[in-house]
Amino acid sequence: MIGALVLGLIAIAQALIFPASVSRVLSAILLSLALFFANGRVGSLVGDQFTQVGMLAVLIPAIVTLLFHKRQQRHFVLLVTMLTLAGYLVAASRNLATLAISLESLALAAAAVAFYPGEREKMRVTATYLIFSVMAAVLLFMGLAFYFAGANTVSLVQFTQTPTAIVGLTFLLAAIMLKLAIFPMHAWAVDVYSLASTSAAIYLSTSVKAAAMLALGILLAGPLKFAYQAGYWQVIIPALVLVVCSIAAGAAGMARSKGVKRLLAFSSIAHAGFLSLVLATPGAFSAGVIAYYALVYSLSNTVAFSAPLLLKGEGEATLEELSLLYKRPLTALAVAIALISLLGLPPTAGFNAKLLALVSLFKSSAIPQWFLLATAIAAVVFTAATGYGYIKAIGYLAKKPEETPQPWPELELLMIIYAFMILLLYFYPLIPKINVF
Protein backbone atom coordinates (compact mmCIF):
# COMPACT_ATOMS: atom_id res chain seq x y z
CA MET A 1 0.00 0.00 0.00
CA ILE A 2 2.90 2.31 0.72
CA GLY A 3 3.92 2.22 -2.96
CA ALA A 4 0.46 3.38 -3.99
CA LEU A 5 0.59 6.24 -1.49
CA VAL A 6 4.05 7.32 -2.64
CA LEU A 7 2.94 7.26 -6.29
CA GLY A 8 -0.11 9.32 -5.42
CA LEU A 9 2.01 11.89 -3.59
CA ILE A 10 4.46 12.01 -6.52
CA ALA A 11 1.48 12.64 -8.81
CA ILE A 12 0.48 15.61 -6.63
CA ALA A 13 4.06 16.92 -6.54
CA GLN A 14 4.50 16.74 -10.30
CA ALA A 15 1.16 18.47 -10.84
CA LEU A 16 2.53 21.33 -8.75
CA ILE A 17 5.66 21.58 -10.91
CA PHE A 18 4.79 20.84 -14.52
CA PRO A 19 2.37 22.77 -16.75
CA ALA A 20 -1.08 21.29 -17.22
CA SER A 21 -0.40 19.82 -20.66
CA VAL A 22 2.33 17.57 -19.25
CA SER A 23 1.08 16.98 -15.74
CA ARG A 24 -2.30 15.64 -16.79
CA VAL A 25 -0.74 12.79 -18.72
CA LEU A 26 1.80 12.11 -15.99
CA SER A 27 -0.95 12.22 -13.38
CA ALA A 28 -3.06 9.69 -15.26
CA ILE A 29 -0.06 7.36 -15.64
CA LEU A 30 1.07 7.64 -12.02
CA LEU A 31 -2.41 7.17 -10.63
CA SER A 32 -2.93 4.11 -12.83
CA LEU A 33 0.39 2.69 -11.72
CA ALA A 34 -0.64 3.12 -8.09
CA LEU A 35 -3.25 0.44 -8.67
CA PHE A 36 -0.55 -2.21 -9.00
CA PHE A 37 0.99 -1.36 -5.65
CA ALA A 38 -2.24 -1.50 -3.68
CA ASN A 39 -1.52 -4.47 -1.50
CA GLY A 40 -0.32 -5.01 2.03
CA ARG A 41 -1.18 -2.86 4.96
CA VAL A 42 -0.04 0.52 6.24
CA GLY A 43 -1.63 1.52 9.53
CA SER A 44 -5.34 1.70 8.93
CA LEU A 45 -4.99 1.50 5.14
CA VAL A 46 -5.38 -1.97 3.69
CA GLY A 47 -4.87 -3.05 0.11
CA ASP A 48 -7.13 -6.05 -0.48
CA GLN A 49 -9.39 -7.04 -3.39
CA PHE A 50 -12.10 -4.63 -2.27
CA THR A 51 -9.59 -1.79 -2.26
CA GLN A 52 -8.25 -2.64 -5.70
CA VAL A 53 -11.67 -2.87 -7.32
CA GLY A 54 -12.72 0.32 -5.56
CA MET A 55 -9.58 2.14 -6.67
CA LEU A 56 -10.25 1.06 -10.25
CA ALA A 57 -13.78 2.43 -9.98
CA VAL A 58 -12.40 5.77 -8.80
CA LEU A 59 -9.67 5.83 -11.43
CA ILE A 60 -11.79 5.15 -14.55
CA PRO A 61 -13.54 8.54 -14.73
CA ALA A 62 -10.41 10.29 -13.46
CA ILE A 63 -8.53 9.26 -16.61
CA VAL A 64 -11.22 10.74 -18.85
CA THR A 65 -11.37 13.95 -16.86
CA LEU A 66 -7.61 14.34 -16.65
CA LEU A 67 -6.89 13.64 -20.30
CA PHE A 68 -9.86 15.24 -21.99
CA HIS A 69 -10.89 18.37 -20.12
CA LYS A 70 -11.15 21.25 -22.55
CA ARG A 71 -9.62 24.25 -20.85
CA GLN A 72 -6.27 23.38 -19.35
CA GLN A 73 -5.69 24.61 -15.84
CA ARG A 74 -2.94 23.51 -13.55
CA HIS A 75 -5.13 23.88 -10.48
CA PHE A 76 -7.74 21.63 -12.00
CA VAL A 77 -5.26 18.84 -12.73
CA LEU A 78 -3.94 19.19 -9.21
CA LEU A 79 -7.43 19.05 -7.70
CA VAL A 80 -8.45 16.00 -9.73
CA THR A 81 -5.24 14.23 -8.77
CA MET A 82 -5.81 14.94 -5.10
CA LEU A 83 -9.44 13.94 -5.40
CA THR A 84 -8.47 10.61 -6.91
CA LEU A 85 -5.96 10.01 -4.14
CA ALA A 86 -8.66 10.83 -1.59
CA GLY A 87 -10.91 8.29 -3.32
CA TYR A 88 -8.12 5.70 -3.04
CA LEU A 89 -7.83 6.46 0.66
CA VAL A 90 -11.58 6.00 1.12
CA ALA A 91 -11.40 2.62 -0.60
CA ALA A 92 -8.45 1.54 1.53
CA SER A 93 -9.37 2.92 4.94
CA ARG A 94 -10.37 0.37 7.51
CA ASN A 95 -11.14 2.53 10.49
CA LEU A 96 -13.71 5.22 10.97
CA ALA A 97 -11.28 8.07 11.67
CA THR A 98 -9.36 7.60 8.42
CA LEU A 99 -12.61 7.06 6.55
CA ALA A 100 -14.12 10.29 7.86
CA ILE A 101 -11.02 12.37 7.09
CA SER A 102 -10.73 10.91 3.57
CA LEU A 103 -14.40 11.54 2.87
CA GLU A 104 -13.97 15.08 4.08
CA SER A 105 -11.06 15.83 1.75
CA LEU A 106 -13.03 14.21 -1.06
CA ALA A 107 -16.01 16.49 -0.45
CA LEU A 108 -13.88 19.63 -0.23
CA ALA A 109 -11.93 18.97 -3.42
CA ALA A 110 -15.13 17.99 -5.20
CA ALA A 111 -16.71 21.33 -4.31
CA ALA A 112 -13.73 23.10 -5.86
CA VAL A 113 -13.80 20.86 -8.95
CA ALA A 114 -17.45 21.83 -9.46
CA PHE A 115 -16.21 25.41 -10.01
CA TYR A 116 -14.24 24.37 -13.13
CA PRO A 117 -13.45 26.18 -15.42
CA GLY A 118 -13.95 29.15 -13.09
CA GLU A 119 -16.96 31.01 -14.39
CA ARG A 120 -19.55 33.16 -12.71
CA GLU A 121 -22.24 30.59 -13.54
CA LYS A 122 -20.38 27.82 -11.79
CA MET A 123 -20.43 29.66 -8.46
CA ARG A 124 -23.98 28.47 -7.92
CA VAL A 125 -22.93 24.87 -8.52
CA THR A 126 -20.13 25.17 -5.98
CA ALA A 127 -22.42 26.84 -3.44
CA THR A 128 -25.03 24.09 -3.80
CA TYR A 129 -22.46 21.34 -3.55
CA LEU A 130 -20.72 22.94 -0.62
CA ILE A 131 -23.87 23.45 1.45
CA PHE A 132 -24.79 19.81 1.08
CA SER A 133 -21.28 18.64 1.78
CA VAL A 134 -21.38 20.80 4.91
CA MET A 135 -24.53 19.00 6.03
CA ALA A 136 -22.93 15.67 5.27
CA ALA A 137 -19.80 16.66 7.21
CA VAL A 138 -21.89 17.71 10.20
CA LEU A 139 -23.72 14.38 10.24
CA LEU A 140 -20.50 12.45 9.63
CA PHE A 141 -18.56 13.92 12.52
CA MET A 142 -21.57 13.96 14.82
CA GLY A 143 -22.04 10.28 14.02
CA LEU A 144 -18.38 9.63 14.66
CA ALA A 145 -18.63 11.40 18.04
CA PHE A 146 -21.70 9.44 19.13
CA TYR A 147 -20.23 6.19 17.86
CA PHE A 148 -17.04 6.79 19.77
CA ALA A 149 -18.88 7.84 22.92
CA GLY A 150 -20.90 4.63 22.79
CA ALA A 151 -18.44 2.09 21.48
CA ASN A 152 -15.14 3.57 22.72
CA THR A 153 -13.36 2.71 19.52
CA VAL A 154 -13.03 3.72 15.89
CA SER A 155 -12.21 0.20 14.80
CA LEU A 156 -14.65 -1.44 12.42
CA VAL A 157 -14.93 -4.68 14.33
CA GLN A 158 -14.76 -3.97 18.06
CA PHE A 159 -18.41 -3.05 18.22
CA THR A 160 -19.87 -2.41 21.65
CA GLN A 161 -23.60 -2.73 21.77
CA THR A 162 -24.96 0.49 23.26
CA PRO A 163 -27.84 2.71 22.10
CA THR A 164 -25.38 5.60 21.74
CA ALA A 165 -23.27 3.66 19.25
CA ILE A 166 -26.41 2.85 17.27
CA VAL A 167 -27.35 6.53 17.21
CA GLY A 168 -23.85 7.32 15.91
CA LEU A 169 -24.12 4.60 13.31
CA THR A 170 -27.44 6.01 12.14
CA PHE A 171 -25.88 9.45 11.75
CA LEU A 172 -22.96 7.98 9.79
CA LEU A 173 -25.39 6.13 7.54
CA ALA A 174 -27.39 9.32 7.03
CA ALA A 175 -24.23 11.24 6.09
CA ILE A 176 -23.27 8.66 3.49
CA MET A 177 -26.82 8.53 2.14
CA LEU A 178 -26.72 12.30 1.79
CA LYS A 179 -23.48 11.98 -0.16
CA LEU A 180 -25.10 9.33 -2.35
CA ALA A 181 -28.07 11.69 -2.95
CA ILE A 182 -30.74 9.35 -1.64
CA PHE A 183 -34.32 10.68 -1.49
CA PRO A 184 -35.38 13.19 -0.02
CA MET A 185 -31.97 14.87 -0.30
CA HIS A 186 -31.48 14.21 -4.00
CA ALA A 187 -32.24 17.59 -5.58
CA TRP A 188 -28.70 18.90 -5.13
CA ALA A 189 -27.24 16.12 -7.27
CA VAL A 190 -29.41 17.06 -10.25
CA ASP A 191 -28.41 20.71 -9.93
CA VAL A 192 -24.72 19.96 -9.61
CA TYR A 193 -24.35 17.25 -12.24
CA SER A 194 -26.38 18.98 -14.92
CA LEU A 195 -25.00 22.50 -14.42
CA ALA A 196 -21.31 21.74 -13.84
CA SER A 197 -18.91 21.56 -16.81
CA THR A 198 -19.07 18.16 -18.46
CA SER A 199 -15.57 17.02 -17.54
CA ALA A 200 -16.19 18.06 -13.94
CA ALA A 201 -19.62 16.40 -13.96
CA ILE A 202 -18.11 13.11 -15.18
CA TYR A 203 -15.85 13.17 -12.20
CA LEU A 204 -18.40 14.29 -9.62
CA SER A 205 -21.18 11.95 -10.68
CA THR A 206 -18.95 8.93 -11.08
CA SER A 207 -15.81 9.00 -9.02
CA VAL A 208 -17.06 10.86 -5.99
CA LYS A 209 -20.22 8.80 -5.99
CA ALA A 210 -18.25 5.57 -6.32
CA ALA A 211 -16.17 6.65 -3.31
CA ALA A 212 -19.35 7.26 -1.30
CA MET A 213 -20.55 3.79 -2.34
CA LEU A 214 -17.29 2.28 -1.13
CA ALA A 215 -17.64 4.09 2.18
CA LEU A 216 -21.08 2.50 2.51
CA GLY A 217 -19.49 -0.87 1.74
CA ILE A 218 -16.92 -0.41 4.50
CA LEU A 219 -19.64 0.51 7.00
CA LEU A 220 -21.62 -2.56 5.89
CA ALA A 221 -18.71 -4.91 6.40
CA GLY A 222 -17.90 -3.36 9.76
CA PRO A 223 -20.15 -1.86 12.43
CA LEU A 224 -23.46 -2.21 10.56
CA LYS A 225 -22.93 -5.95 10.33
CA PHE A 226 -22.41 -6.23 14.06
CA ALA A 227 -25.36 -3.98 14.83
CA TYR A 228 -27.45 -6.19 12.56
CA GLN A 229 -26.28 -9.34 14.30
CA ALA A 230 -27.03 -7.78 17.67
CA GLY A 231 -30.64 -7.33 16.58
CA TYR A 232 -30.71 -3.66 15.62
CA TRP A 233 -32.02 -4.35 12.13
CA GLN A 234 -34.93 -1.91 12.55
CA VAL A 235 -32.54 0.93 11.69
CA ILE A 236 -32.38 -0.42 8.16
CA ILE A 237 -36.13 -0.45 7.40
CA PRO A 238 -36.59 3.35 6.98
CA ALA A 239 -33.38 3.43 4.94
CA LEU A 240 -34.81 0.81 2.57
CA VAL A 241 -38.04 2.81 2.17
CA LEU A 242 -36.01 5.92 1.26
CA VAL A 243 -33.95 3.85 -1.16
CA VAL A 244 -37.05 2.73 -3.04
CA CYS A 245 -38.33 6.33 -3.08
CA SER A 246 -35.08 7.51 -4.63
CA ILE A 247 -35.31 4.93 -7.42
CA ALA A 248 -38.82 6.26 -8.08
CA ALA A 249 -37.61 9.87 -7.99
CA GLY A 250 -34.81 9.02 -10.43
CA ALA A 251 -37.23 7.32 -12.80
CA ALA A 252 -39.69 10.22 -12.67
CA GLY A 253 -36.96 12.75 -13.33
CA MET A 254 -35.49 10.76 -16.20
CA ALA A 255 -38.79 10.59 -18.02
CA ARG A 256 -39.04 14.39 -17.99
CA SER A 257 -35.44 15.40 -18.75
CA LYS A 258 -34.39 16.59 -22.18
CA GLY A 259 -30.64 17.03 -21.71
CA VAL A 260 -28.19 14.14 -21.60
CA LYS A 261 -26.46 15.37 -18.46
CA ARG A 262 -29.74 15.91 -16.66
CA LEU A 263 -30.89 12.42 -17.65
CA LEU A 264 -27.69 10.92 -16.31
CA ALA A 265 -27.95 12.97 -13.12
CA PHE A 266 -31.36 11.44 -12.38
CA SER A 267 -30.00 8.06 -13.42
CA SER A 268 -27.24 8.39 -10.82
CA ILE A 269 -29.89 8.95 -8.15
CA ALA A 270 -31.76 5.82 -9.22
CA HIS A 271 -28.48 3.88 -9.19
CA ALA A 272 -27.50 5.03 -5.74
CA GLY A 273 -30.92 3.82 -4.67
CA PHE A 274 -30.64 0.41 -6.27
CA LEU A 275 -27.18 -0.14 -4.87
CA SER A 276 -28.33 0.71 -1.37
CA LEU A 277 -30.71 -2.28 -1.44
CA VAL A 278 -27.75 -4.28 -0.16
CA LEU A 279 -28.26 -2.48 3.15
CA ALA A 280 -30.77 -5.22 3.97
CA THR A 281 -27.97 -7.73 4.60
CA PRO A 282 -24.86 -6.03 5.97
CA GLY A 283 -21.75 -8.15 5.70
CA ALA A 284 -18.67 -8.95 3.66
CA PHE A 285 -20.77 -10.23 0.76
CA SER A 286 -22.73 -7.02 0.37
CA ALA A 287 -19.51 -4.99 0.60
CA GLY A 288 -18.15 -7.05 -2.30
CA VAL A 289 -21.36 -6.50 -4.25
CA ILE A 290 -21.01 -2.77 -3.65
CA ALA A 291 -17.45 -2.76 -4.99
CA TYR A 292 -18.54 -4.65 -8.12
CA TYR A 293 -21.55 -2.38 -8.56
CA ALA A 294 -19.36 0.71 -8.14
CA LEU A 295 -16.96 -0.54 -10.80
CA VAL A 296 -19.73 -1.30 -13.30
CA TYR A 297 -21.53 1.97 -12.58
CA SER A 298 -18.28 3.85 -12.95
CA LEU A 299 -17.53 2.32 -16.37
CA SER A 300 -21.06 2.76 -17.72
CA ASN A 301 -21.57 6.26 -16.40
CA THR A 302 -18.19 7.44 -17.66
CA VAL A 303 -18.90 6.25 -21.20
CA ALA A 304 -22.41 7.71 -21.17
CA PHE A 305 -21.19 11.04 -19.79
CA SER A 306 -18.39 11.18 -22.36
CA ALA A 307 -21.01 11.48 -25.12
CA PRO A 308 -21.91 15.11 -24.31
CA LEU A 309 -18.18 15.83 -23.82
CA LEU A 310 -17.53 14.48 -27.30
CA LEU A 311 -20.40 16.33 -28.91
CA LYS A 312 -20.64 19.64 -27.11
CA GLY A 313 -17.44 20.11 -25.13
CA GLU A 314 -18.21 21.43 -21.65
CA GLY A 315 -21.84 22.37 -22.35
CA GLU A 316 -25.07 20.42 -22.11
CA ALA A 317 -26.19 18.29 -25.07
CA THR A 318 -29.85 17.60 -25.76
CA LEU A 319 -31.03 14.08 -26.38
CA GLU A 320 -31.64 14.94 -30.04
CA GLU A 321 -28.00 15.83 -30.43
CA LEU A 322 -27.02 12.28 -29.51
CA SER A 323 -28.07 11.35 -33.03
CA LEU A 324 -24.87 13.04 -34.26
CA LEU A 325 -23.07 9.91 -33.06
CA TYR A 326 -24.82 7.96 -35.83
CA LYS A 327 -21.94 8.98 -38.09
CA ARG A 328 -19.46 7.37 -35.67
CA PRO A 329 -20.99 3.88 -35.38
CA LEU A 330 -18.42 2.32 -33.03
CA THR A 331 -18.71 5.17 -30.57
CA ALA A 332 -22.49 5.05 -30.81
CA LEU A 333 -22.32 1.34 -30.03
CA ALA A 334 -20.14 2.04 -26.99
CA VAL A 335 -22.64 4.63 -25.70
CA ALA A 336 -25.52 2.24 -26.36
CA ILE A 337 -23.76 -0.53 -24.41
CA ALA A 338 -23.19 1.89 -21.54
CA LEU A 339 -26.85 2.93 -21.51
CA ILE A 340 -28.04 -0.69 -21.62
CA SER A 341 -25.67 -1.45 -18.76
CA LEU A 342 -27.07 1.46 -16.79
CA LEU A 343 -30.55 0.07 -17.39
CA GLY A 344 -29.35 -3.37 -16.36
CA LEU A 345 -30.08 -5.67 -19.27
CA PRO A 346 -27.90 -8.61 -20.32
CA PRO A 347 -25.35 -9.07 -21.82
CA THR A 348 -23.87 -6.12 -19.97
CA ALA A 349 -22.33 -6.05 -16.53
CA GLY A 350 -25.09 -3.79 -15.28
CA PHE A 351 -27.36 -6.83 -15.25
CA ASN A 352 -25.03 -8.77 -12.96
CA ALA A 353 -24.62 -5.82 -10.68
CA LYS A 354 -28.36 -5.37 -10.24
CA LEU A 355 -28.90 -9.11 -9.87
CA LEU A 356 -26.25 -9.36 -7.15
CA ALA A 357 -27.79 -6.42 -5.31
CA LEU A 358 -31.14 -8.24 -5.31
CA VAL A 359 -29.49 -11.50 -4.20
CA SER A 360 -27.90 -9.61 -1.34
CA LEU A 361 -31.30 -8.13 -0.45
CA PHE A 362 -32.90 -11.56 -0.22
CA LYS A 363 -30.10 -12.97 1.91
CA SER A 364 -31.48 -11.01 4.83
CA SER A 365 -32.80 -13.27 7.57
CA ALA A 366 -33.97 -10.73 10.13
CA ILE A 367 -36.16 -8.45 8.03
CA PRO A 368 -39.64 -9.90 7.30
CA GLN A 369 -39.87 -11.66 3.96
CA TRP A 370 -42.95 -9.76 2.78
CA PHE A 371 -41.12 -6.47 3.28
CA LEU A 372 -38.13 -7.69 1.30
CA LEU A 373 -40.39 -8.89 -1.48
CA ALA A 374 -42.29 -5.60 -1.61
CA THR A 375 -39.00 -3.65 -1.68
CA ALA A 376 -37.59 -5.82 -4.45
CA ILE A 377 -40.74 -5.59 -6.56
CA ALA A 378 -40.94 -1.82 -6.15
CA ALA A 379 -37.24 -1.45 -6.98
CA VAL A 380 -37.51 -3.59 -10.12
CA VAL A 381 -40.68 -1.86 -11.29
CA PHE A 382 -39.21 1.60 -10.86
CA THR A 383 -35.97 0.49 -12.53
CA ALA A 384 -38.02 -0.70 -15.47
CA ALA A 385 -39.58 2.75 -15.49
CA THR A 386 -36.10 4.29 -15.80
CA GLY A 387 -35.85 2.22 -18.99
CA TYR A 388 -38.03 4.79 -20.76
CA GLY A 389 -35.33 7.43 -20.40
CA TYR A 390 -32.48 5.17 -21.53
CA ILE A 391 -34.41 3.71 -24.45
CA LYS A 392 -35.32 7.23 -25.58
CA ALA A 393 -31.61 8.11 -25.61
CA ILE A 394 -30.71 4.89 -27.47
CA GLY A 395 -33.44 5.66 -29.98
CA TYR A 396 -31.78 8.94 -30.86
CA LEU A 397 -28.49 7.11 -31.39
CA ALA A 398 -30.12 5.21 -34.26
CA LYS A 399 -31.47 8.31 -35.99
CA LYS A 400 -29.73 9.72 -39.03
CA PRO A 401 -28.60 13.33 -38.47
CA GLU A 402 -27.86 16.10 -40.95
CA GLU A 403 -24.53 17.24 -39.55
CA THR A 404 -21.35 15.33 -38.83
CA PRO A 405 -19.67 15.56 -35.42
CA GLN A 406 -16.07 16.59 -34.91
CA PRO A 407 -14.05 13.39 -34.50
CA TRP A 408 -12.03 12.98 -31.30
CA PRO A 409 -10.26 9.64 -31.83
CA GLU A 410 -8.48 9.40 -28.45
CA LEU A 411 -11.63 9.88 -26.40
CA GLU A 412 -13.61 7.59 -28.69
CA LEU A 413 -10.98 4.85 -28.37
CA LEU A 414 -11.12 5.10 -24.58
CA MET A 415 -14.92 4.94 -24.66
CA ILE A 416 -14.80 1.80 -26.81
CA ILE A 417 -12.28 0.18 -24.47
CA TYR A 418 -14.49 0.96 -21.47
CA ALA A 419 -17.56 -0.41 -23.28
CA PHE A 420 -15.63 -3.60 -24.02
CA MET A 421 -14.77 -3.85 -20.33
CA ILE A 422 -18.50 -3.61 -19.51
CA LEU A 423 -19.17 -6.60 -21.76
CA LEU A 424 -16.20 -8.48 -20.32
CA LEU A 425 -17.36 -7.94 -16.75
CA TYR A 426 -20.66 -9.59 -17.63
CA PHE A 427 -18.85 -12.87 -18.20
CA TYR A 428 -16.47 -12.47 -15.26
CA PRO A 429 -18.49 -11.08 -12.38
CA LEU A 430 -16.19 -10.56 -9.43
CA ILE A 431 -17.13 -10.19 -5.81
CA PRO A 432 -13.99 -8.89 -4.14
CA LYS A 433 -13.21 -9.94 -0.59
CA ILE A 434 -12.86 -7.30 2.08
CA ASN A 435 -10.53 -7.57 5.08
CA VAL A 436 -11.75 -5.90 8.23
CA PHE A 437 -10.03 -6.20 11.56
Binding site: I2, L5, L9, I12, V42, G43, S44, L45, H75, F76, L78, L79, M82, L83, L85, A86, L89, A92, S93, N95, A97, T98, I101, S102, E104, S105, L108, A109, A111, A112, F115, G118, T126, F146, A149, G150, T162, P163, T164, I166, V167
Partner: protein, 159 residues
Protein backbone atom coordinates in the same frame (compact mmCIF):
# COMPACT_ATOMS: atom_id res chain seq x y z
CA UNK B 1 -16.77 18.47 38.04
CA UNK B 2 -19.71 17.41 35.92
CA UNK B 3 -21.80 20.15 37.55
CA UNK B 4 -19.36 22.83 36.39
CA UNK B 5 -19.32 21.24 32.95
CA UNK B 6 -23.09 21.30 32.60
CA UNK B 7 -23.30 24.88 33.89
CA UNK B 8 -20.71 26.11 31.39
CA UNK B 9 -22.38 24.25 28.55
CA UNK B 10 -25.69 25.86 29.49
CA UNK B 11 -24.13 29.30 29.07
CA UNK B 12 -22.57 28.14 25.80
CA UNK B 13 -26.03 27.14 24.55
CA UNK B 14 -27.25 30.69 25.15
CA UNK B 15 -24.35 32.02 23.07
CA UNK B 16 -25.08 29.44 20.36
CA UNK B 17 -28.62 30.77 20.17
CA UNK B 18 -27.17 34.27 19.87
CA UNK B 19 -25.07 33.13 16.90
CA UNK B 20 -28.23 32.16 15.06
CA UNK B 21 -30.59 34.96 16.04
CA UNK B 22 -28.41 38.05 16.38
CA UNK B 23 -29.11 40.18 13.30
CA UNK B 24 -25.60 41.68 13.39
CA UNK B 25 -23.16 39.24 11.78
CA UNK B 26 -20.16 40.56 13.68
CA UNK B 27 -21.84 40.09 17.03
CA UNK B 28 -22.86 36.61 15.90
CA UNK B 29 -19.25 35.79 15.06
CA UNK B 30 -18.16 37.17 18.43
CA UNK B 31 -20.70 34.88 20.08
CA UNK B 32 -19.12 31.98 18.22
CA UNK B 33 -15.81 32.82 19.91
CA UNK B 34 -17.61 32.59 23.23
CA UNK B 35 -19.12 29.21 22.31
CA UNK B 36 -15.66 27.85 21.52
CA UNK B 37 -14.08 29.38 24.64
CA UNK B 38 -16.80 28.09 26.94
CA UNK B 39 -16.85 24.58 25.51
CA UNK B 40 -13.07 24.55 25.83
CA UNK B 41 -13.35 25.53 29.49
CA UNK B 42 -16.02 22.87 30.00
CA UNK B 43 -13.57 20.27 28.70
CA UNK B 44 -10.89 21.65 31.02
CA UNK B 45 -13.30 21.10 33.89
CA UNK B 46 -13.45 17.42 32.97
CA UNK B 47 -9.66 17.14 32.89
CA UNK B 48 -9.38 16.77 29.12
CA UNK B 49 -7.02 19.72 29.02
CA UNK B 50 -5.44 18.86 25.69
CA UNK B 51 -8.60 18.99 23.62
CA UNK B 52 -9.87 21.87 25.75
CA UNK B 53 -6.75 23.85 24.93
CA UNK B 54 -7.14 22.94 21.27
CA UNK B 55 -10.75 24.10 21.37
CA UNK B 56 -9.54 27.45 22.71
CA UNK B 57 -6.48 27.75 20.44
CA UNK B 58 -7.82 26.35 17.18
CA UNK B 59 -11.52 26.91 17.65
CA UNK B 60 -11.66 30.31 19.25
CA UNK B 61 -8.27 31.42 18.03
CA UNK B 62 -8.35 30.38 14.39
CA UNK B 63 -11.72 29.21 13.13
CA UNK B 64 -13.84 31.79 14.91
CA UNK B 65 -11.41 34.54 13.90
CA UNK B 66 -11.82 33.54 10.24
CA UNK B 67 -15.56 33.77 10.79
CA UNK B 68 -15.11 37.21 12.35
CA UNK B 69 -13.02 38.29 9.36
CA UNK B 70 -15.71 37.09 6.97
CA UNK B 71 -18.39 38.91 8.94
CA UNK B 72 -16.36 42.12 9.05
CA UNK B 73 -15.63 42.15 5.33
CA UNK B 74 -19.16 41.20 4.35
CA UNK B 75 -20.98 43.98 2.51
CA UNK B 76 -24.17 43.45 4.46
CA UNK B 77 -23.32 43.34 8.13
CA UNK B 78 -26.85 43.28 9.42
CA UNK B 79 -29.13 40.61 8.14
CA UNK B 80 -32.90 40.55 8.11
CA UNK B 81 -33.64 37.15 9.58
CA UNK B 82 -36.58 35.82 7.65
CA UNK B 83 -37.87 32.50 8.79
CA UNK B 84 -37.68 30.15 5.83
CA UNK B 85 -40.70 28.53 4.23
CA UNK B 86 -40.39 25.19 5.95
CA UNK B 87 -38.64 26.66 9.02
CA UNK B 88 -41.18 25.58 11.61
CA UNK B 89 -41.34 22.04 10.20
CA UNK B 90 -37.55 21.85 10.32
CA UNK B 91 -37.54 23.19 13.88
CA UNK B 92 -40.10 20.63 15.06
CA UNK B 93 -38.32 17.77 13.28
CA UNK B 94 -34.99 18.78 14.76
CA UNK B 95 -36.59 19.17 18.19
CA UNK B 96 -37.93 15.62 18.02
CA UNK B 97 -34.55 14.42 16.75
CA UNK B 98 -32.75 16.14 19.62
CA UNK B 99 -35.10 14.75 22.25
CA UNK B 100 -34.92 11.21 20.88
CA UNK B 101 -31.13 11.35 20.61
CA UNK B 102 -31.04 12.70 24.16
CA UNK B 103 -33.23 9.88 25.46
CA UNK B 104 -31.21 7.22 23.66
CA UNK B 105 -27.85 8.51 24.81
CA UNK B 106 -28.77 9.30 28.42
CA UNK B 107 -27.64 5.90 29.62
CA UNK B 108 -24.23 5.95 27.92
CA UNK B 109 -21.82 4.11 30.21
CA UNK B 110 -18.86 6.06 31.55
CA UNK B 111 -18.04 7.82 34.81
CA UNK B 112 -15.88 10.89 35.29
CA UNK B 113 -12.96 10.27 37.58
CA UNK B 114 -9.82 12.32 37.97
CA UNK B 115 -8.75 12.26 34.36
CA UNK B 116 -5.88 14.14 32.80
CA UNK B 117 -4.89 14.12 29.15
CA UNK B 118 -1.71 12.33 28.22
CA UNK B 119 -0.10 14.36 25.45
CA UNK B 120 2.46 11.64 24.77
CA UNK B 121 -0.20 9.01 24.11
CA UNK B 122 -2.23 11.43 21.99
CA UNK B 123 0.76 12.17 19.79
CA UNK B 124 1.49 8.47 19.53
CA UNK B 125 -2.08 7.68 18.45
CA UNK B 126 -2.06 10.50 15.93
CA UNK B 127 1.23 9.73 14.25
CA UNK B 128 1.59 5.96 14.67
CA UNK B 129 -1.09 5.29 12.09
CA UNK B 130 0.50 6.32 8.78
CA UNK B 131 -2.82 5.97 6.98
CA UNK B 132 -4.41 8.59 9.21
CA UNK B 133 -1.42 10.90 8.83
CA UNK B 134 -1.52 10.64 5.04
CA UNK B 135 -5.28 11.29 4.99
CA UNK B 136 -4.83 14.30 7.27
CA UNK B 137 -2.02 15.78 5.19
CA UNK B 138 -4.10 15.27 2.05
CA UNK B 139 -6.97 17.14 3.72
CA UNK B 140 -4.65 20.04 4.53
CA UNK B 141 -3.29 20.38 0.99
CA UNK B 142 -6.77 19.95 -0.49
CA UNK B 143 -8.03 22.79 1.68
CA UNK B 144 -5.20 25.04 0.52
CA UNK B 145 -5.54 24.34 -3.20
CA UNK B 146 -9.34 24.25 -3.21
CA UNK B 147 -9.66 27.64 -1.50
CA UNK B 148 -6.99 29.05 -3.81
CA UNK B 149 -8.86 27.73 -6.85
CA UNK B 150 -12.07 29.40 -5.71
CA UNK B 151 -10.56 32.79 -4.86
CA UNK B 152 -8.30 32.71 -7.94
CA UNK B 153 -11.37 33.56 -10.01
CA UNK B 154 -11.25 37.11 -8.67
CA UNK B 155 -7.90 37.65 -10.36
CA UNK B 156 -8.35 35.82 -13.65
CA UNK B 157 -11.87 37.07 -14.38
CA UNK B 158 -10.70 39.13 -17.32
CA UNK B 159 -9.06 36.25 -19.18
Amino acid sequence: MIEAYILIMGVATAFAAAVLWDPDLVRAAASLIMVFLLSGFALLALGAWFIGAMQVLLGAGAVAIIALYAALTSRKRTEVLKSPKAGSIAAITLGILGISVGLLTLSTPGTFTIYSSNAYKIAELLFKDIGLTVALSLLMIVALIASAYIVRYLYVRGE
